[in-house]
């Protein structure tokens, strides 16, 4: 079958009202679900799954993909407006999005988040359509040693999100690494730091830690100082992202999209590390580096491009190999199987109409995302206008319900509050929470892959330099560390007072 035939077959499959309606409804559900703190894109997809059982395969899968894409964008709305990432992938968006909102530029930040998300979405979808086969074979050359070096390199992001004090950032990261060790040991299956409590055996719930770390400290600060915000205006205003902003950030958006595509095509990483990596690369190369973390629009663009760049690319291992790349695609693969479809190389031969139908749907989904996102931003702008005395208690209620609903477990709510106090103390002592989060996500990956690599080689460390991919990441790691050290030494020489700048 030629390309055009395949395209026509795909078009005939999705060329009906139901398919596009499902996709559109999916995007709407996703944006709303992603925007509710604690709900997360993953849960929105999981809740939608049972409804797809009775649908046509392509309609059901498009519905889920719509929810996925919408959810990843939707998460940025509460991240920017109330410093609570709606979905883990948008935690990097907080770093600059929330300061922008504090300055009364929430509209600009939200607009940029949408534009960056949609651009990244298009690039990611095109990558899926054009390079699926190539990227899939690239993903398959990623064994534990390659993974280990990639994660090692990614940990250098910590320097980029530490703010002015690398020491405080490192402290935060160590705390994150420590808490990530709770749960079952991967290789021995023994309990680590569970204190005999079955609730701890699964490790600390990621969403609970995330919300506890970012949202709860704001609430505690409000309780501490109920009137601290009085006098600060905080409205969406008339400001909207300008084309000049977009053009200025375009390079970061494209770079972030490609980072998303590469990380997304490798099973097991997910959108959050990609967003952080994109953010830290944008910061490293930007002229406005000093402004990152204080409300730099390019930072929002980079993080949102990084996480939405993943959304199309995670379908590469799913469709080309039949392997789910992250939690969400694991649910989507379930939907394929419900309908008797088996993703993998043969699907490109046996069900080529479905593949091309999905491609067409994906392209359209970026457009839908733009439309729904624009409307959603207008709807959610009232959140920014709400007085804090009403907003903050409402956020607290949402956080509690959201965290409980992730796993129907009250213990997670306790974890959220405990982490809230940790976050509050960290905030008082100006320890940045972002390195904590990155270490909490990447720490277990680093450990697991290192130990798997050691099992593979019988504890021979040379496996960690077994091929070009590992060499590449070792080199990147060394270069980055040298750059960090040189910047640190330079800053020290220019005068010791500089490191304490934010106290002013």
């Amino acid at each position: 079958m030629s390309f055009l035939d395949s395209l026509a077959a795909g078009l005939s499959l999705v060329g009906n009202i139901e398919a596009f309606l499902a996709l559109f409804i999916g995007v709407v559900i996703g944006v709303i679900g992603g925007a509710i703190p604690g709900m997360s894109a993953t849960m929105a997809v999981a809740l939608t799954l049972p409804f797809t059982f009775a649908m046509q395969p392509i309609t059901g899968i498009l519905l889920l993909l719509g929810v996925y894409k919408g959810g990843i964008f939707g998460g940025s709305i509460p991240a920017i407006l109330i410093k609570t990432p709606g979905t883990p992938a948008s935690s990097a968006t907080i770093l600059d999005g929330y300061p922008l909102a504090e300055r009364g530029e929430a509209g600009r930040a939200l607009g940029m988040a949408l534009w960056a998300s949609c651009t990244a979405d298009v690039i990611s979808n095109l990558a899926l359509i054009l390079f699926a086969g190539w990227l899939a074979s690239f993903a398959l050359s990623f064994g534990p040693p390659e993974f280990f070096t990639l994660i090692l390199f990614s940990l250098t992001i910590i320097a980029g999100v530490s703010g002015d004090s690398l020491l405080r950032g490192a402290l935060s990261a160590l705390l994150g690494l420590l808490l990530a060790t709770i749960g079952l040991d991967l290789v021995y299956g023994t309990n680590r730091f569970t204190f005999g409590d079955p609730n701890m055996m699964g490790g600390l719930n990621f969403i609970a830690v995330l919300i506890g770390l970012f949202a709860i400290p704001e609430i505690l600060a409000m309780v501490w100082h109920p009137t601290a915000h009085v006098g600060k205006t905080r409205s969406l205003g008339k400001n909207w992202v300008s084309f000049a902003d977009y053009r200025r950030s375009f390079k970061s958006i494209v770079r972030g999209s490609f980072i998303g595509v590469f990380l997304g095509s490798i099973p097991g990483i997910g959108a959050a590390p990609s967003a952080f990596l994109s953010y830290s690369e944008a910061r490293r190369t930007s002229k406005n580096r000093e402004n990152f973390g204080k409300g730099e629009i390019e930072g929002v663009a980079a993080s949102e491009a990084g996480n939405n760049g993943v959304a199309g690319a995670t379908l590469i291992p799913l469709l080309a190999l039949g392997v789910p790349g992250d939690v969400i695609t694991a649910i989507i693969i379930g939907a394929f199987m419900i309908h008797g479809l088996q993703p993998g190389p043969m699907m490109f031969i046996l069900n080529v109409d479905i593949i091309y139908g999905l491609f067409i749907g994906l392209i359209v989904s970026s457009l839908f995302l733009f439309m729904v996102g624009s409307v959603a931003i207008r709807g959610f702008k009232y959140v920014a206008d709400l007085p804090r005395r009403i907003l903050i208690p409402a956020v607290l209620v949402l956080c509690i319900y959201g965290v409980f609903a992730v796993n129907n477990n009250i213990f997670d709510v306790g974890v959220m509050f405990a982490m809230g106090w940790v976050g509050f103390v960290m905030m008082r002592y100006r320890v940045p929470p972002a390195p904590f989060l990155i270490a909490f996500i990447l720490g277990p990956l680093l450990e697991d892959n290192f130990r798997q690599a050691m099992l593979m080689s019988g504890s021979d460390p040379t496996i960690l330099i077994r091929g070009p991919i590992t060499w590449f990441f070792w080199a990147m790691t060394v270069v980055t560390i040298v750059a960090i050290v040189r910047a640190g030494v330079g800053a020290f020489r220019r005068g010791p007072g500089r490191g304490r700048a934010p106290e002013a």
């Binding site: 059982f53 299956g189 309990n191 694991a330 693969i333 008797g340 477990n409």
Partner: protein, 324 residues
């Protein structure tokens, strides 16, 4: 206790002891799925929830309580009220492999009362299609010679035990340590590890592998059932002279806390019979490689106990028990 006693007194005084239970269920029933959305247990549970909900006549509230290889959700049901309003979708991993292998597991089989097992999944052993290993003999030969590695969805998971059981059955000495176990985080990662060459082989649910085998990415070496499994061009364990490996099958069942009343268990037995008769349900499950076999509460308890004892003996023989 007082409440229960009072309830019993009230019921007796009205002469409605039987009728009071006959009214179960009066309200929606919470169904705990101890694994994540989209996994084998989740899909199975949500597929049966449709016909089962009709049979029960009250809504079934499905909730995923995940973590620690099914332990978190299982504990939630273990500690629930024994009134039949909180039930668990139990799985081979959470209720026979884990109890057999993990000394520190916060529950044992005695903490649950099984009302049914409705689904059986054959296990299959596969290697990557690019592997030199083409048969079980070749696999065993390599295990005895150069050594071999296998992946699993974690320590104490079904695939972990299955690989050790298979190697042991085929005469590999000290099977638990003879091969290198490379555990992964979850079933998808375990399959990926075989595809990308991290591990040599994997024994797990045929339904998790069917896609890879039909796509030509993996080669099936053996299935553990007595009859061949559709889509798997591989000998059965009986063909290979290892009928004992038939014990190594996956299953999904429903359980309540240990003190579940007989009447409630009996009701579930009836509901399951009518739910599993639903043609659409059977078709959906079979298309994914499952075998639908509805067991009565008694049968289910015997089946699980039997499998647990086999596994327990194997674990003790091979020194695979995880302490601490």
């Amino acid at each position: 206790m007082t409440l229960k006693t009072m309830g019993a007194v009230c019921a007796l005084s009205l002469g409605l002891a039987g009728a009071a239970w006959a009214e179960y269920p009066e309200r929606p029933i919470n169904m705990v799925i101890p694994y994540g959305a989209g996994g084998a247990t989740d899909i199975s549970a949500r597929t049966i929830s449709e016909p089962l909900g009709k049979a029960v006549g009250k809504p079934l509230v499905m909730a995923n309580v995940t973590g620690a290889g099914g332990a978190t959700g299982s504990v939630a049901v273990q500690n629930a009220k024994e009134d039949g309003y909180t039930m668990l979708f139990a799985r081979v991993g959470s209720h026979s492999v884990n109890p057999a292998m993990k000394a520190t597991l916060p529950y044992t089989l005695e903490d649950f009362r099984f009302v049914t097992v409705y689904e059986i999944n054959p296990f299959a052993c596969v290697v990557s299609a690019r592997s030199d290993i083409t048969s079980m003999e070749a696999l065993i030969e390599q295990a005895k010679g150069d050594g071999i590695s296998f992946s699993s969805s974690g320590v104490g998971s079904g695939p972990h035990l299955a690989a050790a059981m298979v190697l042991n059955a085929f005469g590999v000495e000290d099977a638990a340590n003879a091969a290198t176990h490379i555990p992964q985080q979850g079933g998808g990662a375990a399959a990926t590890a075989v595809l990308n060459g991290t591990a040599d082989f994997l024994c797990t649910n045929s339904s998790a592998l069917a896609g890879f085998v039909s796509n030509g990415q993996m080669r099936a070496l053996m299935v553990t059932t007595a009859d061949p499994v559709e889509g798997f061009d591989a000998p059965t364990s009986v063909d290979l002279g290892q009928p004992d490996l038939q014990q190594m099958v996956g299953w999904t069942g429903i359980a309540g806390p240990a003190g579940l009343p007989d009447e409630v268990a009996a009701k579930w037995g009836d509901w399951m019979q009518s739910a599993a008769a639903d043609a659409e349900f059977v078709e959906k499950m079979e298309s994914r490689g499952s075998i639908i076999r509805v067991m009565s509460p008694e049968e289910a308890n015997d089946f699980i106990q039997g499998q647990y004892e086999t596994f327990r003996k194997l674990v003790d023989d091979l020194g695979m028990r995880i302490e601490g």
